[in-house]
Subunit: 340 residues, 2 copies
DNA sequence: GTGAAAGCGCTAACAC
DNA sequence: GTGTTAGCGCTTTCAC
């Protein structure tokens, strides 16, 4: 049976009494030690230690409005992309002694709204959000109430809200140009639903690069809509294998999809890259570690986070900024042979 | 220039004034709506909407002591294992309308202590901690102050502190027995530092299984100490390849290490599993998706989290519990041919 | 350098 | 059913 003594938490006045000083003095020791004479300070510090006093953050925040907490809402915390972004945020915040509360919306606008309210109740100084929907009305409302808002991995639709994003159009274009450079003419794109901004943008980039090369996107490209995981990649490749005019190159909207695609191609007896070239997106940890290392579009995940936190920590009166990072194509074996 | 109006947050008394009622009534609408007549309730709700009022959580908590926040400190939030554990925790907490604050200690006892204090200041009801060190003195101190403590992925060294863990000794033994069953006689174990409890335990399991089979662990086993990532696996295999008596089976302390091992074996022209059988640990998402699907020891990550949250949410006077889950061996191609 | 006291926004106990 | 009010623990003037 644990001795979980449920007595009242020891408060600043307990410490004051124990040290024979006033609560104001204890508060000074805690917040402006230089204002207190060394003697009393020692005494108060001893009392704090003896009673193992821990400040009540709620009271502190209620009184002082001193807010050192920031919230972040990402689409899916188990996605390595967002994990790395989060770490970037945390690293930057820690440097300024801020704390981060993270939540995952799981692409559900209701969950996003729920966490948003929760963070607001907890008096966060600001929130960094990967929006689930294109509308950011609700975020503007939050901002009206004096809470900082930074859009994560999403370009801002309005001038007044800061944002940090990666150029997905260019990412799609880079991947496509690379495949065209390798001599491929029939391309497939395993993509997610166009309602997901990243997917729509990457498609736009693909079409752009095709047009650039003088190809008609409607002819040179087969787009297959799949779920954003390995099963999606498997289904996508199955659909392509059955088609009469098999593409020689497949671009996948993320690395998990590419993983499923790779597996399925191999099982079908096709060689990557000799029969089919493959390019993924995100450059997750294991992309380089696969039996056939995967060419992938790398995004500056960590920097995305640190930069977002940067924008968050600037004063509320600083003008909004819209940062757009450029992705980088990491070429590996999965795309570097000439097509058969 | 954002209109970040820094005026005072609208409070419950603003709402009361706007609706022409008292603060008590507004509070009642918020907390016990049934106590309020439908007419006034409507009016108050309208005022809340119009002023877009959001409750001040600090004041609420300060007054009511109503604590619905729980903290979790894991070793490394970017490790898929801990991500899944965290999701399990969150899921369970959400069901009871609790909120989770997550932090990553990065195996640094100082960071652990820092977050522990922070959580305590924020008045969390309890903390779930994967301890960085074997000592849990500091956690006992926290518990003394009325805060619940549950050890995560770590068996409790004391009866009075609840814990949730997975049997790593058995996990190591299962993997080893499987390899022995396949006819292997010369085994290697790519392991981490023994100061990490999981590593020490898994080694114990390996030796146990060898002894069980009548083998002398010191003879039948080569242990190589590596870093807990893919580079570690690569280095480990390199060391083994140079050895005179190459093992025919390699057990890796986690799947990332196994990934590096797999890659390096292939590059050396060795077939997995025909030349060398391979077993990993954790059964991460991509284990099944590799060109040679990886046999791995699966841990009930999600359940580990939900169970820990369960223990956390029980009343403070419930007796401590020590839950130990059993891992499960997931057999795939990387270990299922007879040795060459 | 130190103490006294006001009050942050809220909930709950108690009047009416 | 609704209003009034006392604090929760803290920071911060403002006296002394």
């Amino acid at each position: 049976m644990p001795p979980r003594t449920q007595h009242r938490r020891t408060s600043i006045s307990d410490v004051a009494r124990h040290a024979g000083v006033s609560v104001g003095t204890v508060s000074n020791v805690l917040n402006r030690p230089d204002r207190v004479s060394p003697g009393t300070r020692k005494r108060v510090e001893a009392a704090i230690a003896e009673l193992s006093f821990v400040r009540n953050g709620s009271a502190r925040q209620l009184r002082a409005g001193r807010i050192t907490t920031v919230g972040a809402i990402v689409l899916d915390i188990s996605n390595p992309f967002f994990t790395d972004v989060t770490r970037g945020i945390e690293e930057r915040l820690t440097a300024d002694d801020y704390t981060l509360m993270v939540a995952s919306s799981d692409r559900d606008p209701e969950r996003e709204a729920r966490y948003l309210r929760l963070f607001e109740e907890h008096g966060v100084r600001g929130v960094m959000v990967v929006p689930t929907a294109d509308s950011i009305e609700h975020l503007l409302a939050v901002r009206e109430r004096g809470i900082g808002v930074v859009l994560l991995d999403h370009p801002s639709p309005v001038e007044s809200v800061s944002s940090v994003a990666v150029d997905d159009v260019n990412g799609g274009a880079m991947a496509t140009r690379h495949l065209l450079d390798q001599g491929h003419t029939r391309l497939a794109f395993l993509n997610g639903a166009h309602s997901i901004r990243q997917c729509a943008d990457r498609l736009e980039g693909v079409r752009l690069a095709l047009a650039e090369a003088g190809r008609d996107p409607d002819e040179a490209l087969v787009e297959v809509t799949v779920s954003l995981d390995a099963d999606g990649g498997e289904a996508g490749i199955r659909a392509l294998l059955d088609a009469p005019d098999r593409p020689t190159a497949v671009f996948c909207v993320n690395d998990l999809v590419a993983l499923g695609a790779l597996r399925t191609l191999r099982r079908a007896g096709l060689s990557v890259p000799d029969d089919v070239a493959l390019v993924g997106y995100d450059d997750v940890t294991f992309a380089a570690e696969l039996a056939t290392p995967l060419t992938s579009v790398r995004q500056p995940r960590h920097e995305l986070g640190t930069r977002a936190a940067d924008l968050m920590l600037r004063g509320g009166d600083a003008p909004a900024e819209h940062v757009v990072f450029q992705p980088e194509l990491v070429v590996r074996e999965s795309s570097t042979s000439a097509p058969a």
